[in-house]
Symmetry: C2
Subunit: 614 residues, 2 copies
């Protein structure tokens, strides 16, 4: 392709709103233009790289037997009402009413559409497993779109959905997807950090996020200095930092035995003392000697509360599961630790948890905020972090204004209804796998695979007949990759001051050929080399513009095409005639015989492709 | 690909709402499923053919130097306000307000987005001509979506937009597009009728529609039995059916001379007579001896009226052109003919024309509806069809209730302000090129190319500097093809009772291999043949299902894969072993030596591809 015949409007200036390298470089190299806040148009150069990312993803999806389909971008609102997400998705969902008053959604994700399609076609276990995917336009109404296509409003996503007769089959596809994702990112030249993630609003359990490190990342990751443990803070665990013997959690009986020599509970006056900090100062002791008791309100929970205090009756939830619309819980954690509300919500199978209103705290604990405690607390389920089970002589609120209990022992003075990990892990905590020190990084999510379980298939009424002719609900998995973000991340990882340095697999062109002046013998040599390279399947951009060499060199560096070949009278007049060849990441040119240049460049290009695609 | 490993849910039943063959067959063959009214999902089989149509279009666009870009599907409403189409597009435009109250449009077409992109980048004549295209999702809020993807709400369109320094350059690209479109349809195996079309709401002049004949077509076409003239009724012309001498339109002077022997105008009583039919009955003469005078109101016209009666002042229109918001015209046509309002609107450069309200007729003609006529009519521009210029002794309304004039002669008794073709052409009229008889067909539009001129570039303020450094506005062309409709039309043209008969270029697979039973020696032979074909680049679907041969044969016919190969014990046990080969359109099988089958099928497949792609 001749540069004069395509449309690559490079810029010397950096757009004012471009805060990160990929945003700056995609604009400056003429890959991208802005249509509006968060809406971008890929120009020919950008689209070439975009399509290569798309092709890599498609190849890897097809290789694991995932089948491509093409649903619409605009989907019926009714499907979202069936799944319940019409209400729960919030304002990021772009809702449209057409002229007939029918509700539509501009798809941000497609669980509903795929589930509805499969529902209509599925009859027998013989059709399963089935994995379908699309590579299609999505819209999410970001309130503050930023960083170019890294966080745009409209974007392209590959989203796959799998359907299974059971957990084993789901796990098999989930694992295959995990391997395919690793290959996709490797082929794009990306270093990703696969992390255990909470599956958030998507529901279900078993999920992995593929992150790239980024100073502007949306996610906080905890990584181990000693092993390859990596987790999103939303779900990160850590080794207990107490002497818990064999297990991490003491049973009430064991704790009671351990508390044999602890003095009996004693009520103490703590006037005007409400926070843990104030209490530490007042009692002159550390926060680790306290139990923090927080009252939470959980919404749309599906945890079975039939054995819990508080008379929660199992109502039938929209999903068909028993559950409750809203319920209150007392949550216990060691005084120096913080509750991780995402873990708490997951433990309660709730769509949302939040601290209870003051009036609810007074009603449920009989005391103002600041004096809740587990001893004598009735009528509300008590949830404890395992850290609490190692405490046998601590301070808690005494369910009355200005009063605390001391010498409180777990197992003896109170027994929680449920003990489960709800601790926020921080840098400096210990790796749950090897005990190494954890540290934090900011990351951006490029892909996410997760086991949805039965959330959508149940709420949308999907079923099939098993071998015995019995009606069953299929298990479901869901797997996404953002294409625009993946492309931008490649640039984030591969650039320097002068521009992009493309990995061969996603480079818009593989070779850029710069004639010093595109005329006479140089033109003949350039045209010949372009033909020879194109005949060998190499993608060449020929800079045939009537510009100074410096301008051409700068644009070539900016565009980041892996190999640059310069042809000029000086080297062509050598005997034999020579071409200058340079890899984008190298500083120095080297001379290659013109007659051997096509052969050698082809070898180099295919060599790098082979390396990345291996 | 093994049939058991893909997802092709064929149906024996015809969906109740499927009225045309392509709709029925796309559903029955498992190509397509419905998500909602007018919204469809392509399943794997359908997507394969869809992608082939897409690739053919992309190749032909690239071959003429058109550059692919990818703007968004959701575009800013502000751009549509700039062009004025936010108001004029009506309710088919899907408008969305996001959470911040910003207006967006789900693109039905992209003149605005492309014009805005080019506006920001264009500075010099050296950048022109420039042709950009996209193949992207569009949405049009059809009030009654029907016929499957033939008239859906969401669809994929290739739309290209070209920018030029002048009309010659625009014409060059327009012609190249016309040739590319002919190649695209030929490669898809489609018979299209290229017709001269009115460019309708798009503005500008010079356009060609590519139609396929269809009983459910939206368009009425007029075709010549003798030559290749074809036109949309909206724009069709015909040879004058009066003795007009050399030219078609007589000058007022010539007409006056011809009327020398015509008696003077005479007023006649015509009580209770209003319509042409009543008048014919009353006067006992034919409709050809009357002039019909109709009062029209035209909106947003841009015709220069400074020399016209009626004191219309040239206001500045939103486009920057002088014009008028609304104006009235008296329109004359011979009594047996009908006014073509689309031609009339084009002549007046108006966005819309409609018969004036009765009260306006009274005000402008001084008489109730039914008595308008050109003799003595003042204060309103008179527009006449050329048919009127051949009349020199006819009847017209006399601008008073129950009165008509007779012996009226054009040129002597009245002279229109403008004479222009506004006649509706019908079957039986004469071809404007050769005089042959015209006949009518219904057609569906697959593609449309047209010269937009300066409509968008002017209203959206696009400019460049010419060689002399002078600011100029570029001319623009626009070129669309609907992919879904093209694919459905291929099926309309290529099917029989049993199913689809794909042209090789757009067939989802090129060969279907049916083992009678997929086991033992047959399985080994089938797997070997699949490998041999795939090694040669042939796309094979292997029906490995455990179904009766009849079921497999029926599905193969339904899916319409060009070559069917059957392998069974009987023929494999012959010496040498044989395979049954049949083209989808043939009735009879023939036997081919198994060892030569791959070679022979490859030759047949590539032969058909070569024929279509030639």
């Amino acid at each position: 392709m001749k540069l004069s015949q395509t449309f690559i409007p490079t810029l010397r200036e950096v757009p004012g709103d471009a805060l990160i390298a990929s945003h700056r470089l995609m604009f400056r190299s003429g890959m991208l233009r802005k249509l509006s806040n968060g809406l971008f148009a890929y120009l020919p150069l950008g689209l070439r790289s975009f399509r290569k990312v798309e092709r890599i993803i498609r190849e890897e999806m097809n290789a694991i037997g995932s089948l491509e389909i093409k649903p619409t971008v605009v989907v019926p609102g009714d499907l979202w009402k069936e799944s319940g997400r019409w209400e729960t998705m919030g304002e990021a969902l772009l809702r449209v009413k057409n002229r007939l008053g029918t509700d539509f959604v501009v798809s941000p994700t497609a669980e509903e559409a795929f589930t509805a399609l499969v529902r209509d076609e599925l009859s027998s276990y013989r059709q399963l497993p089935l994995t379908l995917y699309q590579i299609n336009t999505k819209y999410r109404d970001e309130i503050r779109p930023r960083y170019g296509v890294m966080r745009g409003r409209e974007f392209v996503m590959k989203d796959a959905y799998s359907f299974h007769t059971g957990e084993d089959s789901l796990d098999e596809t989930y694992q295959a997807m995990g391997r395919a994702y690793r290959r996709i990112f490797k082929r794009c030249g990306l270093t990703v950090i696969p992390v255990r993630a909470d599956s958030g609003a998507m529901g279900g359990s078993g999920s992995e996020e593929f992150m790239v490190e980024s100073g502007i990342g949306d996610n906080t990751l905890l990584l181990c200095r000693a092993c390859d443990y990596a987790a999103n803070v939303e779900k990160a665990a850590c080794k207990p930092d107490w002497a818990g013997g064999e297990g991490e959690t003491l049973s009430p009986e064991a704790a009671r035995a351990a508390a044999a020599s602890t003095a009996a509970v004693e009520k103490i006056d703590t006037p005007e003392v409400k926070t843990i900090e104030e209490l530490c100062g007042f009692l002159k002791t550390g926060a680790k000697r306290f139990i923090k008791t927080l009252i939470y309100r959980a919404v749309n929970g599906e945890l079975d509360l039939s054995s819990a205090p508080g008379n929660y009756r199992g109502e039938k939830r929209p999903s068909g599961e028993p559950g409750y619309g809203a319920a209150f819980f007392a949550v216990l954690i060691r005084g120096d630790l913080e509750v991780n509300e995402i873990k708490l919500a997951a433990a309660l199978k709730a769509s949302e948890v939040a601290l209870a209103a003051d009036s609810d705290v007074v009603r449920l604990t009989g005391a103002p905020v600041g004096f809740a405690g587990p001893v004598g607390l009735e009528g509300i389920p008590v949830i404890a972090d395992p850290s609490v089970t190692a405490l046998n002589d601590v301070v808690t609120g005494a369910l009355a204004k200005d009063l605390h209990y001391t010498h409180v022992a777990y197992g003896r003075d109170f027994v929680p209804w449920l003990v489960t990990d709800i601790r926020t892990v921080k840098a400096g905590d210990r790796c749950p796998l090897c005990g190494g020190e954890l540290y934090e990084k900011k990351g951006n999510e490029l892909g996410h695979i997760f086991k949805l379980g039965y959330k959508y298939t149940r709420s949308m009424g999907v079923s099939y007949l098993d071998e015995a002719g019995k009606t069953r609900i299929p298990a479901m998995g869901c797997y996404g990759i953002g294409l625009d973000r993946t492309l931008a991340s490649v640039i984030e990882e591969h650039h320097d001051e002068a521009g992009i340095i493309w990995p061969m697999t996603v480079a818009p062109y593989q070779v850029i050929l710069i004639p010093i002046k595109y005329e006479g013998a140089v033109k003949i040599a350039a045209d010949g080399l372009v033909s020879a390279l194109e005949d060998r399947g190499v993608e060449v951009l020929l800079d045939d513009r009537n510009e100074r060499p410096g301008v051409k060199f700068n644009d070539a560096d900016l565009m980041g095409i892996p190999y640059r070949v310069v042809l000029g009278d000086k080297n062509l007049n050598l005997s034999p005639p020579m071409a200058e060849v340079k890899h984008r990441r190298d500083k120095e040119n080297r001379l290659v015989e013109l007659t051997r240049a096509a052969e050698e460049l082809t070898g180099l290009v295919y060599g790098e492709l082979g390396e990345l695609n291996r």
